[in-house]
């Protein structure tokens, strides 16, 4: 037999204590209730984690009464009275499969389901128990958090981002708050219900409260859940990054960095560059101070002569990777750039263009190569086979990275102009 744990619907209650009486205003039903202190103590103990017997034991201790059976009977009656006034939910901590039953949603207990993972951070934390109310389709709206069950009966607590009520059966699409991709749509009959509250350390927090107060709630919970709140500021390390862009970071935060390792490019601002000298850095390829006016391109950008028609001022550009200027004439290059820094290689199509790049570049770590303006370009790991000879390619091939040659081709034919 399932055990049901009473839970007061404090979500809709305003409470005022006036001497020996407590006034409850039910904002949902627009009704008032008067309670004596004992009834109020029972109501407060109905937190979704205590059984009727637990509450009786608490009252027995508080009021120093030994007849536990009598108190239990009184508590049961009081809770029934609350239930009749619509002030009471009942929670089951049994597995959902054991408790889901047909009938109207209002008669069903709230299902308490444990949460793992962090996709709903900071509303839900790993270890929370969400209280799920069986809900009709009409009761659900975009923005509600629901729990649904996948084909392997694994439960997912995510937020509704779309409702398709026109399909048969109706479909619901959910998403974790910190996830980018929505989940695949699920049929409504796989939805267990809507999350109405969360049990945190045995105490209920209603969704309205959690959603309206994410930051401070997380702060309060952090002090309870994690020891980090009282610890000194944590010191991050950065490893294996292409670009570590610190231009918008404070001096304090830079000084707090524990270490930087295996980073291709670190960018600093004129305001914080002096802090970098205190950062333990290992295998950092390049460090540049770049004001906000600098553009930063990572990868293999190619600038086209058409840019000249639209540019408002010459570029101050930092490139990490390979910069292709093969379509630009030497005079284009002089007009396009005010300053150029390249951590990598520059590709141009003539000796004159190379000279032009040399005249404007502050730094090019990987040199300048001359390749034909029209070419096929393979970057990364590539493989060249005899099929290339029979393809429609007329242009030379520029290969950057590892180029393997098929064993079916003894050597690269001279008919394939190759630039490596």
């Amino acid at each position: 037999m399932n055990t049901y744990y009473p839970l007061c619907a404090f979500e809709n209650l305003q409470i005022e204590e006036t001497g020996s009486e407590i006034i409850l205003f039910d904002s949902k039903a627009q009704t008032f209730h008067l309670l004596n202190p004992t009834a109020y103590a029972i109501l407060k103990a109905c937190n979704g984690s205590n059984t009727t017997r637990d509450i009786a034991v608490m009252l027995s201790s508080k009021f120093d009464i030994e007849d536990l059976d009598s108190i239990t009977a009184d508590v049961t009656e009081t809770i029934k009275s609350f239930e009749s006034k619509g002030l009471m939910w009942f929670v089951t901590h049994e597995p959902p499969e054991a408790t889901i039953k047909s009938g109207s949603s209002s008669e069903s207990p709230l299902l308490a389901i444990s949460v793992t993972g962090a996709s709903m951070f900071p509303v839900l934390f790993s270890g929370d128990k969400v209280l799920v109310k069986k809900s009709s389709l009409e009761e659900l709206t975009v923005g509600d958090i629901v729990v649904w069950s996948d084909a392997s009966h694994k439960h997912v607590a995510h937020r509704i981002v779309a409702l398709d009520t026109s399909s048969t059966p109706p479909l619901i699409t959910t998403k974790g708050d910190v996830s980018h991709e929505p989940d695949s749509p699920v049929e409504f009959n796989r939805v267990l219900g809507k999350v109405v509250a969360v049990l945190q350390d045995g105490e209920p927090k209603w969704m309205k409260e959690l959603e309206n107060n994410q930051g401070s709630t997380a702060e309060q919970r952090g002090s309870r859940q994690s020891a980090t709140a009282d610890q000194p500021k944590r010191r991050p390390s950065y490893t294996l990054l292409k670009v570590l862009d610190l231009r918008e970071v404070s001096v304090d935060s830079i000084q707090n960095i524990e270490s930087v390792q295996e980073v291709s490019l670190v960018l600093l601002s004129p305001e914080n560059e002096h802090a970098w000298s205190q950062v333990p850095a290992k295998n950092v390829k390049a460090v540049f101070t770049a004001p906000k006016e600098y553009r930063v391109y990572t990868g293999q950008p190619e600038l086209l002569p058409e840019i000249l028609e639209f540019m408002e001022e010459p570029l101050r550009l930092i490139v990490l990777g390979q910069l292709f200027l093969t379509s630009l004439e030497p005079d284009h290059i002089e007009k396009v750039f005010r300053e150029l820094i390249v951590v990598g290689q520059v590709y141009v199509s003539s000796v004159e263009a190379k000279t032009a790049v040399e005249s404007i570049a502050k730094t090019i770590t990987g040199g300048i190569s001359i390749v034909p303006a029209e070419h096929a370009r393979w970057i990364g790991e590539s493989i060249l086979g005899p099929e290339y000879l029979s393809s429609n390619h007329q242009a030379p091939l520029v290969a950057i990275g590892d180029l393997s040659v098929s064993e079916r081709m003894k050597e690269i034919p001279s008919s394939i102009p190759l630039y490596r």
Partner: protein, 228 residues
């Protein structure tokens, strides 16, 4: 127990308070973390492993996540002087340049830009402040293969002589021959990993004008080769 966030391609923390971010114990295996100017300092304290990039969105910037056909229809939905940030691929067949200049003040792209119209991309480059990805030319009216692609006879049949733009891994079906590929595709831009037999891979490379990534000769082919 603290909060650990792992194995998410894009972790969007823009709306999360600094206080809440400070309670994260670890972020692991995330491609891009999206932050606001309000919480970036807090995130500086969060331990992280395999976090490839951080993207800070300013209050006056508009972020789009996902693949975008960057055309007049898209531009006309934006207010004037939008500071646009795109996390995803941008595909440009062409747009009306005065409309672009009216709607886009600055532009940041974290993904691939693939374009067919040089004039359009010239206008775009003039306002492109940040690019993390490729800027590649495709031929006009290209077929798009976005995401993981299974290259089989049916898919090849749909090419119908049009150029192909492929972003994402391509697995070449064992039934597809090198000749099938070279006869069906005469021009391709491909970004991503390729899987297939050695001959099929060589054929696919041979039709690529622009190509970025790695390749893998499939085990099936290796096994087949060993028994021949």
């Amino acid at each position: 127990m603290g909060t650990v966030i792992r194995h998410i391609p894009i972790l969007d923390l823009r709306s999360v308070s600094a206080e809440a971010i400070l309670k994260i114990d670890l972020v692991e295996n995330v491609k891009t973390v999206v932050l606001s100017t309000e919480n970036v300092e807090a995130f500086m304290e969060v331990p992280r492993v395999e976090v490839r990039s951080h993207l800070i969105i300013h209050p006056d910037e508009t972020l789009f996540i996902g693949q975008i056909e960057f055309n007049d229809s898209f531009l006309s939905q934006l207010p004037e002087n939008t500071k646009l940030v795109i996390l995803g691929h941008v595909l440009i067949d062409g747009f009306t340049i005065p409309l672009f200049r009216e709607r886009i003040k600055t532009f940041r792209v974290y993904g691939q830009i693939v374009y067919a119209d040089a004039k359009s991309v010239g206008a775009l480059l003039a306002r492109l402040e940040r690019l993390q990805g490729q800027l590649l030319r495709m031929r006009p009216n290209s077929v798009r293969w976005i995401g993981s692609t299974e290259l089989n006879a049916e898919r090849l049949a749909t090419v119908s002589g049009r150029p192909v733009v492929s972003i994402g891994p391509v697995k070449i079906n064992p039934d597809v021959t090198a000749t099938d590929i070279t006869q069906s595709i005469n021009s391709m831009v491909q970004i991503g990993e390729l899987f297939g037999s050695e001959e099929a891979l060589c054929a696919l490379f041979s039709v690529c004008d622009r190509r970025l990534g790695t390749y893998c000769v499939t085990e099936m082919d290796k096994a087949h080769s060993a028994t021949v």
